[in-house]
Structures are given as structure tokens and as C-alpha cells.
Amino acid sequence: MATARTARDPILLALLVATLLLLAAMIAAAVRPGFAETCTYAALWVAGFEGFCAALFALGTARSQAAGRARVWILANAVQQALLLGVLVWLERNEIDGGFVFAYPKATAFFLYVFWPSQVLFLVFFAWPYRRWFHTDDDAARVATLLREHGVSRGEDA
């Protein structure tokens, strides 16, 4: 029987707040024409989205030994997203034409500086902390114990 208040409730509360923030941004954009093109909207969305993702990652790593490292990854991802989105919104608002960083048109720069950093971050994430989540003796032992206790004979596989 679950207890009245679970340990993960604060994470879920943060997720609910972030979700409501994103919903509020969408509703505001729907009722106020032009709001969806403003920096305020972008800031609201980035804050909501980063909170949303951070809560989901925290939920997924709540009992993992790598939770601390995952927090570092979340922070790095959040900073990257916020900086890049800030630059993009600034470019949009100021209508700067081609030839900004290294004389590339914006689309190329966008591809280079948004797409690839995201991909590299992901690889770092999987190569570094995530590896531990399925390889620590503690995690493997917990899974094996769970399966054995419930009569699953293939427990040693997990």
C-alpha cells in the first residue's frame, strides 16, 4: 500500500507547475494576436519547457545512483537551450540578414550551432552517466532480486 504522500510528489508538483506554465503560454498566444512572436512568449516557453524536461529527468533518475550526474546534464542542456534560443529570438527580432557567424547564412549557422550541439550533448549523456545506470552492481542486484522474489527464472539476464 502506498503511503499518503510519496517521495516523488515534489517532482510531480514541479512537473504540474511547468505544464500549467506551458498551457498558459499557449492560451495567451491564442487570445492575444502577435503574442506568439514576442520575446516574452519565448522566455515563458523556454522556462516552462526546461522545467518540464528537468522534472521528467528527475522522475526517471529518482532512485538512480547517477541522479547527481543527470542533474549536471539537465543543467548543461538547459543553459544550452536558453542561450541558443536567446540568440535565435534576438536574430529574429532584429531581422539580421545573412552573414552573421563565420559569414554563414542563418540557416546554416542554426544547423551548425543548434542541431549538432544537441546531438553531441546527447552522446555525452549516454556515454557518461547513463552507462552507470544499467551497469552498477547495485542496480543490477535490485533488478535481479525483484525478479527472483516474484518467481521469474530469467532474473539473472537483467
Binding site: A2, L23, M26, L91, G98, P105, L121, F134, V143, V152
Partner: protein, 488 residues
């Protein structure tokens, strides 16, 4: 003729895999979960192949052609989405599958929430998505085959109906004979074709213009500045909505996450995620390359304008690709469509044979392997007939399948499997709200304010409902083994 020869070889290999898999499919667990024996490479490639569908070579390049940079916001979610799906969905589903011998998503929902109503609603959502997605895939295969036959001089002899049933026949043969085992082995073959074709398409695309993409970008920028701005023609709000929907929505796609239940070893999840990521990155290059080349070529006046953006890929192949490469890419196109179609056939059959009877009567029928094969045939036949009769309706339904699954299933699986306060009533309410918003948005598009993405709004509303009802209710009773699984 070269293209048709490539297709014929591809079809023959698929049929051979179906025949080989038939001997190893002995019961329902084999049929629906490939006996829970998949290694990381097979599972990773099966997952990748199931995700991409016809979007890789048709819809995706068309979006780039029409909207410029906007679809990149959909594509760059691969890393984040893969990480979330591995963390939140793959591990609990794989564990629960082994603990309870579960073969489908509705069964996992029933085990977690102790609710046959929640399981039934999940089954109906999946079935609705199966018919719409499958109908769209079947129609796409028939249409492409008809175009190819027409180009080869068989005009008048091949109606759309004949082409639909001919192409559908191949995927149906290996799905019915070999079940999920045939599905994942053909997925491996299909994935290899898709990745190979993607690499060759990208290599061809960068040589079309002397200075590669930099010149192409400048040409497009000169004629349509908005398309090459960071948010493309879809605008900031639309791009943000896509980014959220496609990074989080992957946690709710039944044809994809079911593959996690088939892993032989839980530790292989890490390798599956990396393989998916690498294959997905290559696939993005294909979409970007075809869309950009065709847009720049048309902008420069070197190619007549393309009326239907979805024709960007065929136009690229006919204009710039060697006939053998075109043949491989068309085979890859069929591979992309078939790999998604066979996954839907399998999960649809599981819903019909196991999940709905269990939700209604509390038990599954005996002789379920035979029934599974009959159900697979029935779903294929119904999807084919529906696709032929309803025309545009199927295409519309297929287009919103991703967001329907995401909004209905993400809260129940990605959140509910990690939160003990999540309740069955919250699960039921969030599924109902997601379906009402998604279907309502499609039925009455004029009611939707400009700039609001209905799918993303439905996903957020569904999550908020699920969480609010969990906090407002007393913590539910959870079976001890499921609770132990949530504590691992």
C-alpha cells in the same frame, strides 16, 4: 525497369524472412514479442524502422521544401526524446513484461492501474491509431507502386485497388506467417536499406551544387528569407510546439515502445538508444538534403516548381539520382512504409485478440496464436478497404496519429509508471480529454485559434489532468510486484 527490379528483389527477401520466421513462431509470446529474445542491434534497428515510416522519403522532404527550416525543430528532438523514452518508459515496461509475462501495452496499463476500463480505453485508442496509421501507409504503398508501374509503361492495367492489395500482400504475408519475429528481422533488413539510401542520397545532394549547401542556402535566402530564418515559415510558436511534441511524444508511441518489451537483456537499452540516435541523425540528413536541393534548384529556375511538396523526393530522384540509386531509394521508401505497417499490424492484432477480450470478459481466448493470425488478416483487410473508401480522411487521420498517441499515453506510461499516487480515474480522464481535444481539433479546425498546435495543447492538458487528479485523490492500491518494480 531498374526500379521495379530493385523492388522485386526487396519483396522476395521480405517473403523469405517471413517463411524463415514461421518455423520459430510457436505461441502468442513468440508472435507478439518475438519470444523476448532480441539483442540490442536487432531491437535498435526495429525501433528505428518503426519510427520513420513513409515520412522519411515523402512527408519529411516535402516539409523542408514547403517550410524551410521549421521541420528541424521536429528533427533535433531525437537526442532528448530518446533519452526520455529510455529513462521513463523502456525500463519499467521491460521489467513489467518479464514480471507478469505481459505482451502488450494495454496489459501493462491494466497491471499498473488495476483498471480494466483504463486498459480498454488504451486498447481503443491504439486500435483507432492502428486503422488510421495503417490506412495511410497502405494507401501510400499502393499509390507509389501505381506511379512506378505507370512510369514503366503498365498504364491502365494496374488500378489503385490492385496496387494496394499487391503491396499490402507482401507485408501481410510475412506478418501473418512470422509474427513479430518476421517483423523485427524485416525491420533490420529495411533499416539497413534506409540508412544506405540516406547516405547515398546525402552524398548525391551535396554534389548537385558546386559549393554545396552554403550556396543552396544563399539562393533560397535570396528568394524566401523567412524560410531560411531559424524558425522557418512555421513561426516560433509552431516550432516550439513541435519541439515539445516530438521530444516527449515518443514516450507514447505504442508501435515503438512495445519493442522495449522484447529485449533479451535490460542492459542493452543503452545500446538501443545510441543505435537509434545514429540512424535517426542520418535520416535527418536525407530530409534536409532533398528538401534543400529541390527548393534551391526551383528557386534558381533550374527545375519547374513542384505543385505537391510531397513530390519533392521523387522529383529529386528523377532529376539527380542514378537509376540504380533511385531503385534502392524506392525500395527504401517501401521499406520505411512496411516497417511501420508491420508494427501496427502486430500491436493491432494483440489488442483484438488479447486486450479487448480481457478487458471485457476478464480472460483471453484459447488458441490465441491462430486467432492472432486471423486478427492480423482482418486488420489488414479492414485498413485496406477503409483506405480505399475514405480517401482524404485516412490521410488526415494518419497525420495526427503521433499526437493522438502522445497525448493519450504519455501521462499513463511515462509518468504513471514512476508515481505511486497516479490513479486509474486520472488515467481514464486524461485519455478521454486527449481524444476529445485531438479529434475535436481535427473535426472543427476553424475553432482553433491561429498559432495553436492542437496536439501539443492536448498533450499538456492531458498531463495536467492526470497530475491534478492524482494529487486530489487518495493514493491507490498497487499490486506488490508492480510497486516493487516502481521502486527499482
Amino acid at each position: 525497369m531498374t526500379i521495379l527490379a530493385c523492388l522485386a528483389v526487396y519483396f522476395v527477401v521480405c517473403i523469405a524472412i517471413g517463411l524463415a520466421s514461421m518455423r520459430r513462431t510457436r505461441d502468442a509470446t513468440d508472435y507478439f514479442l518475438a519470444g523476448r529474445t532480441l539483442g540490442p542491434w536487432l531491437a535498435g534497428m526495429a525501433t528505428f524502422s518503426s519510427i520513420v515510416s513513409g515520412f522519411l522519403f515523402v512527408g519529411g522532404p516535402g516539409l523542408f521544401y514547403r517550410m524551410g527550416m521549421s521541420p528541424l525543430w521536429m528533427m533535433i528532438t531525437g537526442g532528448l526524446g530518446g533519452a526520455l523514452a529510455s529513462l521513463l518508459v523502456a525500463r519499467p515496461l521491460r521489467l513489467l513484461s518479464e514480471l507478469r509475462g505481459i505482451v502488450s501495452l494495454p496489459a501493462a496499463i491494466e497491471a499498473r492501474y488495476r483498471s480494466r476500463t483504463a486498459s480498454l480505453l488504451t486498447s481503443l485508442t491504439i486500435l483507432c491509431g492502428v486503422f488510421s496509421y495503417l490506412g495511410a501507409q497502405v494507401l501510400a504503398m499502393g499509390s507509389v507502386l501505381r506511379v512506378l508501374l505507370h512510369a514503366a509503361g503498365y498504364e491502365g492495367e494496374a488500378s489503385l485497388t490492385v496496387c494496394v492489395f499487391a503491396s499490402c500482400g507482401v507485408v501481410l504475408f510475412y506478418s501473418v506467417s512470422g509474427g513479430m519475429l518476421a517483423s523485427v528481422w524485416t525491420d533490420l533488413f529495411q533499416g539497413i536499406i534506409m540508412i544506405t539510401a540516406s547516405a547515398f542520397v546525402f552524398a548525391t545532394a551535396i554534389t548537385v551544387w558546386d559549393d554545396g549547401f552554403e550556396t543552396m542556402d544563399r539562393v533560397i535566402f535570396a528568394t524566401d528569407e523567412a524560410a531560411m530564418m531559424p524558425f522557418g515559415r512555421f513561426g516560433m510558436a509552431g516550432c516550439f510546439a513541435w519541439f515539445l511534441m516530438f521530444s516527449v511524444g515518443g514516450c507514447g508511441q505504442p508501435h515503438v515502445i512495445t519493442k522495449n518489451m522484447m529485449l533479451r537483456d535490460l542492459r542493452d537499452l543503452r545500446r538501443v538508444a545510441i543505435l537509434n540516435f545514429v540512424a535517426g541523425t542520418l535520416a535527418v540528413l536525407t530530409l534536409l538534403a532533398i528538401g534543400t536541393v529541390m527548393r534551391a534548384t526551383v528557386a534558381a529556375g533550374d527545375h519547374p516548381p513542384i505543385g505537391n511538396p510531397d513530390a519533392a523526393a521523387p522529383a529529386f530522384l528523377l532529376a539527380f539520382a542514378h537509376p540504380v540509386l533511385a531503385g534502392v531509394v524506392f525500395a527504401a521508401l517501401f521499406a520505411a512504409i512496411m516497417s511501420t505497417a508491420d508494427s501496427f499490424l502486430n500491436i493491432g492484432a494483440a489488442v483484438l485478440v488479447q486486450d479487448i477480450p480481457r478487458a471485457l470478459r476478464g480472460r483471453t481466448p484459447t488458441h490465441d496464436l491462430a486467432w492472432a493470425r486471423v486478427a492480423t488478416l482482418a486488420i489488414a483487410a479492414l485498413s485496406g478497404v477503409t483506405a480505399l473508401l475514405s480517401g482524404d480522411l485516412v490521410a488526415i487521420l494518419g497525420a495526427f496519429g503521433w499526437s493522438t498517441f502522445a497525448a493519450a499515453l504519455v501521462p499513463l506510461i511515462a509518468i504513471g509508471f514512476h508515481w505511486k499516487r497516479a490513479t486509474a480515474s486520472g488515467a481514464i480522464a486524461s485519455v478521454v480529454i486527449s481524444l476529445v481535444l485531438n479529434l475535436g481539433g481535427k473535426a472543427f479546425p476553424t475553432w482553433i485559434p491561429r498559432g495553436v498546435d492542437v496536439g501539443t495543447f492536448a498533450l499538456l492538458a492531458s498531463i495536467a489532468t492526470f497530475l491534478a487528479m492524482g494529487f486530489a485523490s487518495r493514493p491507490p492500491r498497487i499490486d506488490p510486484d508492480v510497486e516493487a518494480m516502481m521502486d527499482v
